[in-house]
Every structure is written in C-alpha cells, then in structure tokens.
Symmetry: C2
DNA sequence: AATTAATGTGTAATTTGCACACAATATTTA
DNA sequence: TAAATATTGTGTGCAAATTACACATTAATT
C-alpha cells in the first residue's frame, strides 16, 4: 500500500476534503503488481514491525506501493521505503511474491463501494484490479529511523511481532513468510549491523538472535562463538546497570562483519 | 514464454499460415506479470535444463507463460509446466521475481516490427508492455518427463547446464539464480526423490550432489552420511558394470526422506 | 565488608567433519 | 582356473565444532 492508495481511500471514506494534489496517473504504474515492505526493527528487547494505520477504521497494513514504468522493482522498493521511513540505504531484499487470487479477500478495505468525484475514477479502476505483490524484507536500526506518517494523519508505528493486530489483505501471511525468511537465512543477512545500535552489550546481541531464532541460546557458548569470529570491537564497560559485574560494550568491525556475512556466519546449524 | 507467445511470434515471422485458433484474448491474463520455469533434470551424469527453441531463429528460452485472472500464481506455474512437459505434481517452487526495467533488452525477439493481421493486434499490444517475471524452479525425473514440442515445430530439449546457449531476454540470469537457489537450499529440497530414478547406485547419487554443489565430495564420507540418515533402502546388486565389485542399488524410503527434507538434511555446512 | 546478580572465561564429554586406509568382490585377462 | 583390475563398502584416527556446565570476576547494593 502506498500513500497514494491510502490517501485515496481515505478520501473515499471521508468524502470531504480534496486531495487531488496527491493523485497520480495510474497509467504511470506497472499494472497488476505491488510491493509490500516488511520493515523489521529491534528495540533491544523485541523485534518490531513498521505498520501503517488508518485510524478511522482501525486498519493496519504494511507500507507498500507501486512500481513506476521506468523503475526497476528493487528501485521501487527502495523508494517506497524511503518515503515511509526516511531511511536511505537500508538492508532490503525481495523474499517472495504473493500471487493467490484471493489474497485480498481476508481483510478488505471497508466501504469501497461508496462513490466519489471524477478525477479518482481511473485510479479506483486501477486499484480494484487484481494485484500480485512482491514482499521485501528490510532490516533497519529502529533508532535511526524516522517513520513519517503522511499528511492524512494515518499512523506509522513500530509494533512488536508477537502483538500484531489483524492486517489488511494477506499482509499477515507476508509478515509470517518474512519472519521465516529471516530465521532461515540469518547467517547470510547482516542482522547485527542492520538491527543493533552503534554500541551494545553481548546480552543484547544474544537477545536479537534468540528473538529471530525463537529459542534460547547458551550464554557462554554464544559469547565465545561471536568473539572468535573477530568482528566485534570491545569498548569500555557499561556502568550502573545493577548490582553485578558490568558488561563490556561492543561495536562492529563493519568490514570484517560484512565479509563474514557474505560467506554465511552465525548461529544456525 | 508460453506457447501462445511463441506461436504468435512465429506467426509474425512467417506471416504465412493462420494460427488464429491459438489466439487467446490477452485480457484474460493478469497484465505485467509472466512466469518462467527453470526445469531441472538429472541424467545420472549432468544436470540439464529444459529449453524451448525457435528453430528458425536459433533462439532459446525458458518455458513460461501468463497467469489467468482467476488463477493463483502457483497454479499458473503448475499449469504452464504441465503444458510443456506432461509432468504432473512436480516439485515446483517460486524462487525469485525479476523486475528490472531492462530485463528484456539483452536478447530480444528478432524482427518484431514486421506487421501482421488484425486479430493479433491486441495480443501484440499486450506482449510489448513491460513485464516482470516470477521464476519457478522445478525438479523432475528426466525419465518420466515427456517434453512435448507444440504444433509449430519449436523444439523442447534438455540441455546440460554447462552448455547453455545464449537465452532470450534475461533468462540466462534466471537460470543462474535458480542454480544458486538449488545449491544454497539443497538441504531443504527433495533433490533425491525428484531427480533420481527409482533405483540408483550410491555413486550416481553422489554425482548429483557434486553437480549441484559444483565440487567433489569424499566418497566414503558421502556414503556413510547418507546411510546413517536411514532414508535409503538397499536392494540387490547391480551386476555387469565392469571388472570390479558390483555396487548395491538403492531407492528412497519416501516417507522418511520427506520427513528429513522438512528439517533440512544433506551436505551443506 | 559481605552479599548479590550478572558477566567473562574455562573445561570436559560428545559429536561431527575430514582424509585416508583397507578389505571385499564382479569381471576381465592370462 | 587363478591372478589382475577397478570400484565399492567400511573402518580408523585426528582435528574441529558443539554442548552443557562450572568457576571466577566484579559493580552495585546492603
């Protein structure tokens, strides 16, 4: 779903204001294909997913959009994501294309049948056709990310993956598939650099792995394994964390880390 | 590319015969999206890929087609593959969607500009629009497969992967990505059951792995590893294979094998 | 100064990976 | 008929990785 899409539908719902400046000629888009982004962030405790909300209808959805005719699909995904989060150069990868006939049947837009003014007709016709959607998985640092809800007051919020509301269309399936992808390809994705803050404790890093893999890991073995790979730089200790030994802070040697990710590192076997 | 597409273009090239009975209303297809199948077979020596050839133009391409409006994308892939190979219930999985603007620029159809009769105009207009294409990887037993070239005398042939000709559009990239997918997911695909004949020797099974992984494996370790997993059933020996000890023949315990493939087995680490 | 709770590291048992050796055996050949 | 041949089936030893703990360390609290 792109801004255009949302705004248009909001217009349909409200039927008050004029948002014609947001209208784009749908013939500039590749028909039949949309892009949906599963943007994952980590708050050092839980994995979160970036969702858009249409407040009036309590309707949640993935940020998405359409592909311009002169635009590569990957470019379109990058553009759409930047429009939504303000983040540039995120880790972003296509993971699956969803093409069931009924993929929009589960949770539909409410009240689409209400009608509206003339300039929207082409767009409505475009939107109501059948679409397949390519899912893109993005890993971003939740702290560098400025989700920007658009002019129409819909919200753009991080929601914990285990507390997801019912989503539009098949977006729930798309998120599920993205999480499976993340789990099964964890060794080949830069989960650390993409999801962790600049400095972090080993415990926090381990929590990331545990949340992705959905199982607990042995603390000692995790620490030794990660240290032996030599992509972590140790810094000063983090004090005042409680009545116990203070942990070191770590950061990434990015060159070394990216090298290793190419070949596949980590904690699946 | 589907029969329709090929035949249509042959018509354009020849401009002699009438194949109007093959014409389909393009509005019955989802616009902007095609499917291309990378069908892989194993002849006990090499991996082969099923290609279609337009003889007159020495043009090779993947079997492909379009998605009917009332058809799931996976269904469409199954249908297209069955039309091409006669095989039902193959292993068939979407692996990537190719969406570059220029994906049809490298190797184009020759001489599309020649014109033609009226009933084709809609179809031509449909075909010349921009398409993205979802790649499906299929693993089939080359011996149970009856490739059926269509009425128009194009060929449908198994070609060894290391001897591929230049392919239409970006089909070379699609094959390459499919092979990477096969290699990296070998432990999660039923490569054995899908690609091997009913009975086979351990040597032949090992060759399959070596061709997929593109490296040689230690014979003794391969044999022990596979036997320990207990999905192979040992049969009588295969005699008259030369001046040496005769190898056993093996087949799959399909239940056990499929169980293991679910969890991931095999020879990547 | 003792207690507490979490961190950093060590160790032993087990499993797996890897390289190679050796024995077994259909067929060929002398 | 017996030796030679080439390939299969299996064993063995060493290195590396995995796993499950144990133990020592230490910043803050009591």
């Amino acid at each position: 779903m792109c801004k255009l899409h949302i705004n248009l539908y909001l217009y349909i719902m409200d039927n008050k204001k004029q948002y014609t400046e947001l209208l784009v000629d749908p013939s500039s888009f590749l028909p039949g294909v949309s892009i949906d982004c599963v943007v994952i962030g980590f708050d050092l405790t839980e994995l979160n997913i970036l969702l858009l909300q249409l407040k009036k209808h309590d309707l949640w959805m993935l940020p998405g959009g359409f592909i311009h005719l002169n635009e590569d699909m990957d470019q379109a995904a990058t553009r759409i994501l930047e429009e939504r989060t303000g983040i540039k150069l995120p880790y972003l990868k296509q993971f699956h294309t969803f093409g069931d006939v009924n993929r929009r049947e589960n949770t539909k837009f409410p009240g689409v049948n209400h009608m509206l003014g003339e300039p929207f007709e082409k767009m409505i016709a475009f939107l109501e056709k059948r679409f397949i959607s390519s899912g893109y998985l993005s890993l971003v640092d939740i702290r560098n990310c400025a989700p920007t809800p658009d002019a129409m007051s819909d919200e753009c919020t991080w929601i914990p993956v285990n507390l997801l509301p019912v989503l539009l269309y098949d977006h729930g399936d798309i998120v599920k598939k993205a999480m499976e992808q993340l789990r099964s390809r964890i060794n080949y994705m830069p989960v650390g650099i993409s999801l962790m803050p600049e400095k972090f404790t080993m415990k926090e890093f381990q929590t990331l792995y545990e949340k992705i893999l959905n199982k607990s890991l042995d603390r000692g073995n995790f620490q030794k394994k990660m240290l032996k790979l030599e992509f972590l730089v140790r810094h000063e200790k983090k004090l005042s964390g409680g009545a116990h030994k203070a942990p070191y802070l770590y950061s990434f040697n990015k060159n070394r880390y990216n090298e290793l990710v190419e070949k596949g590192i980590g904690y699946i076997n």
